[in-house]
Amino acid sequence: MSRTYYFTVNGIERSTDQNKPLLRYLRDDLHLHSVKDGCSEGACGTCTIIVDGKAVKSCVLTTRLAEGRDIITTEGLTEKEKEAFVYAFGSRGAVQCGFCIPGMVMAGKALIDRVPDPTEEEIKTALKGNICRCTGYKKIIEGIQLAAAILRGDAKIEEELEKGDEYGVGKRAFRVDVREKVLGYGEYPDDVEMEGMVYASAVRSKYPRARILDIDFSKAMELPGVLTVLTAEDVPNNKVGHLQQDWDVMIAKGSITRCVGDAICLVVAGTREILEKAKKLVKISYEELQPVSSIAEAMAEGAPKVHSKGNLCQSRHVTRGDAKKALANSKYVVTRKYTTPFTEHAFLEPECAVAFPYKDGVKVLSSDQGVYDTRHEISIMLGCDPEKVVVENKLVGGGFGGKEDVSAQHIAALAALKVQRPVKVTFSRQESINFHPKRHAMEGTFTLGCDENGIFTGLDCEIYFDTGAYASLCGPVLERACTHSVGPYCYQNTDIRGYGYYTNNPPAGAFRGFGVCQSEFALESNINLLAEKVGISPWEIRYRNAIEPGKVLPNGQIADCSTALKETLLAVKDVYENNPGRAGIACAMKNAGVGVGLPDKGRAKLVVHDGKIELYSAASDIGQGCATVFIQMVAETTGLGREKIINMGANSEIAPDSGTTSGSRQTLITGEAVRMAAADLDRDLKEAGGDLKELEGKEYFAEFFDPTDKLGADVPNPKSHVAYGFATHVVILDDEGRVKEVYAAHDSGKVVNPIAIQGQIEGGVLMGLGYAFTEDFPLKDSVPRAKYGTLGLMRSTQIPDIHAIYVEKEELLPFAYGAKGIGEIATIPTAPAAQGAYYAMDHVLRTKLPMENTYYSKKQKAVK
């Protein structure tokens, strides 16, 4: 029986006769795209709207239940509210990837309407249902406090800040994308609507390992509105892969699946509703096979081969000096085995891409970490010239490494070429969880030795990675795990063996930290045990061994002049020592730039057009803020304000390839290319007497490349990386074992944007705490058991007080105004520091992540 439901949306009376989730009605029927679809399960909060004054998740509410109610979305805020939130969020650095932000704004507004002067605790409670994976919540809480103050009339908007006349390096730069992200009009791929656009989605394997006996899609084809169903036979070259092309676009009939994320066929239909119906009509017959579910099973003799070459995907042997001898002669030696889990990126924006026929090829509107990488993978699949594929990034709702591989882009391109229409592919949240590569699960045995004074002598370790069904970035990630397992210290005897095994688990690949989170957790935990044997404090043993400029890192590289690990240690010394029995400490280093002999180039082109400088550089801003950083570089070099400089975004057709957003490299590598181009422009600008109009039409291109040595290069002091960032974290517990405070001291060279770096550090720390205490990725026979809401992501009510400290030295690297990356390192030392704090408290060495028997792991009591 059909009924019509009436309600008010942003002051306008609306009605519909369809009963469906309000989220879908608002997005699809009213095109209110500030209402983001992050999970459609009620877990993430990106779709938060206000209903009769209450913050409500619009994916939970239905049009029927909304009958008679008054609904407000971000689009419906008053001008005063809009300006208050834009300024408050921008000036406090609350915006990173932005996907959670309209939901946060609405949750904040609902609270402020009720309580005009909310306390920090009240804000945290009001945001409990809204996940942010970037900021660590602190900046969002501050943003809501400031917005409340502005709306009360207790604080004022400084209009100059957003205008950005002072936008150089080190200035409080208001991110370029704040306004569009706060108000929700900025476009992510899922917000794109095109004439004649249709929808595609893959039917994925029911079993991690099964032979596909038959794919019967005849019933689906009969459904009106279904355009086509594609299988492996329709793919020109059925393989993709970021580095190794081992990933089947679709599993062909007769072949064996490798994980539950595997696509078997791709349905293309006119609407989302028909698409969902059609997918259910596809009948696939399987012969279920026993999956390979662990490293041990993959290594076992006679184990089923996940790939025809065998189950060993990658291995590395990193060695220098004579570790065996050094350890044999060491006064103290500790050996421990450590286990770390898969970790899900849980970026707020599920994978989405829109592709359409373009010129003599295809164009893809994407959300990824490197448009040229995506172009490369798609061209391999299509067997065509890469130039025929154009990839342009829309806003990227978080990546953290999880959007380096193609996910939706290639299947959207395939479908668009087949049906010759625009095609949108949007992953459901569970599809995202099942499909994209995770942080590798590790099992590792680490042996570290030192002399009677606690000076490290040698390290021997064996690292096993579960890389799941596909290689993704297994090679480089495993390599970084090995090269960084030594820590930021100076000793010269290492023997590190790393192995990455294929299993039928979901694939593993890049994730913030890039292998180093795993190995430094193990190393730093061993260091605490050595300190105990020597009889010195965990702080002291680190300080005694800490790398300094001019000294030699365990990989042979001579630490450069900017190295400031000791400064980070000194920055947290007092707070560490003032909390005996409750504090844990850990150090880390992380490369900035891909390094190891690879052609890691930054490229930028500046074009003077209409009296403004257009910046072309295909470098993905996945929320970390590099689009703003580059403009700051131009502003610093030329002295011009933000309004004169436009970042044209990452588009493979118009912007030069500036590499992947990976390896904490964009600020340094692309930043330097931008600076170089800007310096050329500035020279002409000075000659023209500072009149930009004189340069109209001119182009300035620059490429930056600082060569490095490949792993195992036969030179006395190989230079593995252009730069390293360093950090020391101190985690302090309260008497119940809850994390009370985290002090995170970082050396990232020159700080380009003091607002943004704090959010990067705080967000990284919270991710590290999740890794230490709450986040897990349980699998049962290779099938993920977690939903978005049960991954253990920290919520606003769980956050400790995080103090982001950055040490800035006089001596800096000669690149990018001395900036080094911050992206990854912020998340590395937190988990071992948390482990150290628990060890200090109860003297139990927790060698497994997430740690067991902590405040966080104890079953919370149910209320009745």
């Binding site: 009620g42 409500v56 509410l61 239905t62 309580v115 009001a126 249902g129 939903k787 809401g789 919520r795």
Partner: protein
């Protein structure tokens, strides 16, 4: 609207509809809670867990914030309630508890009868079907002694359980997510 800073409020974990109860007249029963309990003790046709409608809570409330209403059960006037907790202690069946406005979603049934038994005596009670457990995005709900229990530590008050509950047994104090009023008419 009034400030709700830290304000608690009472909720009654029963939504009535035990229309087959002896002596029920569509309003407050003539008896006290104790008398009503005594009268139906052991009677398989009557729910042994729900609100008795005798008004013990109403009698102790100093603000007139709780009344036995037309459904024959105690109902809280959230505008008046200050969360003092007097009614909580007065309820002989421990059906009333305090919550805060941040957690407006609550199961309105604590029956320990098996699902089939609850279904026989009540149109709105929890039958332990588990729909809420399956749909909760954060695994905050378990079925304990044949009824849904929400772990408030985990709950993010999204309302999914209330929307999915086929009996409307999980309710929203704000009324937004509460469903199927038409099904729960007496």
């Amino acid at each position: 609207m009034a400030k709700m800073r830290e304000r608690k409020t009472a909720i009654v974990q029963c939504f009535g509809n035990c229309g087959n109860r002896d002596g029920f007249t569509g309003g407050k029963t003539a008896e006290s809670c104790e008398q009503a309990a005594e009268k139906c003790r052991g009677d398989k046709a009557v729910c042994q867990w729900g609100c008795l409608g005798g008004g013990s809570c109403e009698a102790v409330c100093r603000l007139g914030a709780i009344h036995v209403g037309s459904r024959g059960i105690a109902e809280v006037d959230h505008e008046k309630c200050v969360g003092c907790g007097l009614c909580v202690g007065a309820c002989p069946r421990n059906l009333i508890r305090l919550t805060t406005w941040e957690y407006p979603i609550y199961p309105a049934c604590v029956s320990e009868d098996e699902g089939s038994g609850t279904r026989e005596v009540c149109g709105t009670g929890c039958t332990a079907c588990g729909s809420c457990v399956r749909n909760c995005p954060v695994d905050a709900i378990s079925i304990i002694r044949h009824h849904a229990v929400i772990d408030q530590e985990k709950c993010i008050a999204c309302g999914m359980c209330a929307v999915k509950c086929p009996r409307g047994a999980i309710r929203d104090m704000n009324g937004i997510f509460t469903v199927r009023e038409e099904k729960v008419k007496i």
